[in-house]
């Protein structure tokens, strides 16, 4: 489907979500409560069938932490962006998407490690790169006097 057809279809199927045309892809922002359901619908519907998760990114905003999913369909050839924002920065909690796309398990561990977002119902939420008592480096207010030499 082209971008315009995709926008019409998504506005029809997901009335509470915000759908805009971004710089390259269609971007859909959902609420954290309806994230798992929207992802399952996007994967199983025959018109969209997004079965390949390209990339999972965590971004630190001033009031919350956002997670960006780039997804693509291998049968139909279109791609879109799914975005969600947590409620706050002190206790960020999101539902895991491992039942929908299995590769998300390790990407979510990386986001937990570097940004501190907890994922509900994740089977194995541990830190991936860093040790257990390190802070969360990708946050904007991460300060480390011992290790970082500022330029």
């Amino acid at each position: 489907m082209t971008n315009e057809e995709l926008i019409e279809y998504l506005i029809q199927q997901f009335p509470e979500a915000t759908v805009v045309q971004g710089t390259q892809f269609v971007e859909m922002t959902v609420m954290p409560e309806s994230l798992l359901e929207s992802a399952q619908k996007l994967k199983s519907a025959n018109e969209t069938s997004f079965d390949y998760l390209i990339c999972l990114t965590g971004v630190d905003y001033p009031e919350s932490i956002g997670i960006v999913y780039h997804i693509e369909s291998t049968k139909l050839g279109h791609a879109m962006v799914l975005k969600v924002k947590t409620a706050n920065r002190e206790e960020p909690v999101i539902e895991t998407l491992t039942p929908v796309w299995q590769g998300a398990k390790y990407h979510e561990r990386e986001v937990f490690d570097l940004l501190g977002v907890k994922f509900n119902n994740h089977t194995d939420l541990r830190r991936l790169f860093l040790e257990d008592d390190w802070g969360f480096p990708l946050r904007k207010d991460y300060v480390d006097d011992v290790r970082i030499i500022e330029r």
Binding site: L53, I54, C55, H70, T74, Y106, F129, P137, R151
Partner: protein, 377 residues
């Protein structure tokens, strides 16, 4: 004698247990600093758990304090065997965001260098893989031929490995006048040498016994885990970014995507060898028709992207590499994320290696072509 035989056949007289061994960060077969905790019963693998982070450098955090044309030199050091393609991904992302079009000469040069880099990466993979399987001759053959490509790189870029040749808007230096002759000589030489690789390894009965039917990953699992590149194409997953979303000079060439259906280690091996042949065909289509023109556009000193999120995909020798840039209008990016193909490829290892022996685990890991700084960033 018969009493000893009796004890070993009726195993309820012997109590066995599972044990965990550590294939540590420093190991000749793990191709970098990868730590595997392997749970074994006898010699059969029950569970493989990778522990990574031994080369994590914080590149994504460092990029937030650099300008856009300074990010390019850090992408060289992630997947150093396809350094040119990583550089190209960042430059294409910035160019698409600014909506500028580079001259045709730049596109042709970038694509020819991409394909040469792909051949050199597969040559090094083949050498290391043969050495892991016990055939040390492969190490010498592959690296001998790779030196010719590195000579060509050194004449043009000045460096063999960490290139830093692309900038947003073009390339840094023009190619020399004898570039075309050197590349054509290399292709003629390599077309005679590549059948030797087949003679050494592909038809060898020890090699085929060790790799056929080993480490099978089905098509649904390949798509679910996001395994791309030749490892994914071996299972039938058509994921070549050069075909589906062409960039640079790929719209001007005709080539085939190497697919296979079995999904085992031997299929991954043959996909890479066939890709080397196909790369040579692509170079031959482009090398004689490089158009004249500028080798770079005039860009402003300080590049600022408009606000928004941008994503660019590039096909490296390992798979689907992606650059995600979020910008808020300032001269440093707000967030840069690199989607590395090795990250998704490696975590399918547990699924592939369950129920096999340890020697098969080494064969599977070699065919996946893992480069650890790519996974850890």
């Amino acid at each position: 004698m018969s009493e000893i035989k009796e004890i070993f056949i009726t195993s309820d007289k012997i109590k066995t247990d599972d044990y965990v061994i550590n294939m540590g960060p420093q190991h000749p077969s793990t191709h970098g600093v990868l730590r595997l905790l392997i749970k074994l019963e006898g010699e059969i693998v029950l569970n493989v758990e990778p522990h990574i982070g031994y080369i994590h450098s914080g590149i994504e955090k460092m990029c937030e304090s650099l300008a856009y044309n300074q990010i390019v030199h850090l992408t060289d050091r992630m997947d150093y065997l396809s350094a040119h393609m990583n550089n190209e991904a960042v430059c294409l992302c910035v160019e698409n965001a600014l909506q500028i079009e580079v001259p045709d000469r730049v596109k042709y040069i970038r694509t020819i260098m991409d394909e040469l880099m792909r051949i050199s990466s597969h040559q090094l993979w083949w050498s290391a893989y043969g050495m892991d399987m016990g055939a040390t001759t492969c190490f010498f053959y592959g690296l001998r031929d790779r030196e010719y490509i590195l000579d060509i790189f050194e004449d043009t870029f000045g460096a063999r490995l960490t290139l830093n040749y692309n900038t947003p808007g073009g390339v840094m230096f023009d190619i020399k006048p004898d570039f075309q002759k050197k590349v054509k000589d290399f292709i003629k030489y390599f077309r005679n040498k590549l059948p030797e690789y087949d003679q050494l390894l592909s038809g060898n009965i020890i090699f085929t016994e060790r790799t056929k039917g080993v480490g099978i990953l089905s098509l649904e699992d390949t798509i679910a885990y996001g395994v791309t590149g030749p490892s994914g194409r071996a299972a039938g997953f058509s994921c070549d970014v050069r075909k589906h979303h062409p960039y640079s000079a790929y719209p001007f060439v005709k080539f085939e995507e190497m697919l296979d259906t079995t999904g085992d280690t031997y299929a991954r091996y043959t996909c890479r060898i066939r890709e080397m042949w196909e790369s040579m065909n692509i170079i031959e289509q482009l090398i004689d028709n490089i158009p004249e023109g500028d080798y770079a556009l005039k860009m402003k000193g300080v590049v600022k992207l408009p606000e928004g999120q941008y994503y660019q995909r590039v096909e490296t020798s390992k798979g689907d590499f992606g650059v995600f840039i979020e910008s808020d209008g300032k001269k440093n990016p707000y967030r840069v994320k690199f989607r590395s193909p090795g990250f998704s490829n490696m975590f399918a290892l547990n699924k592939m290696a369950k129920g096999l022996k340890i020697a098969d685990l080494v064969a599977i890991m070699g065919a996946l072509d893992l480069v650890m700084p790519d996974i850890d960033r």
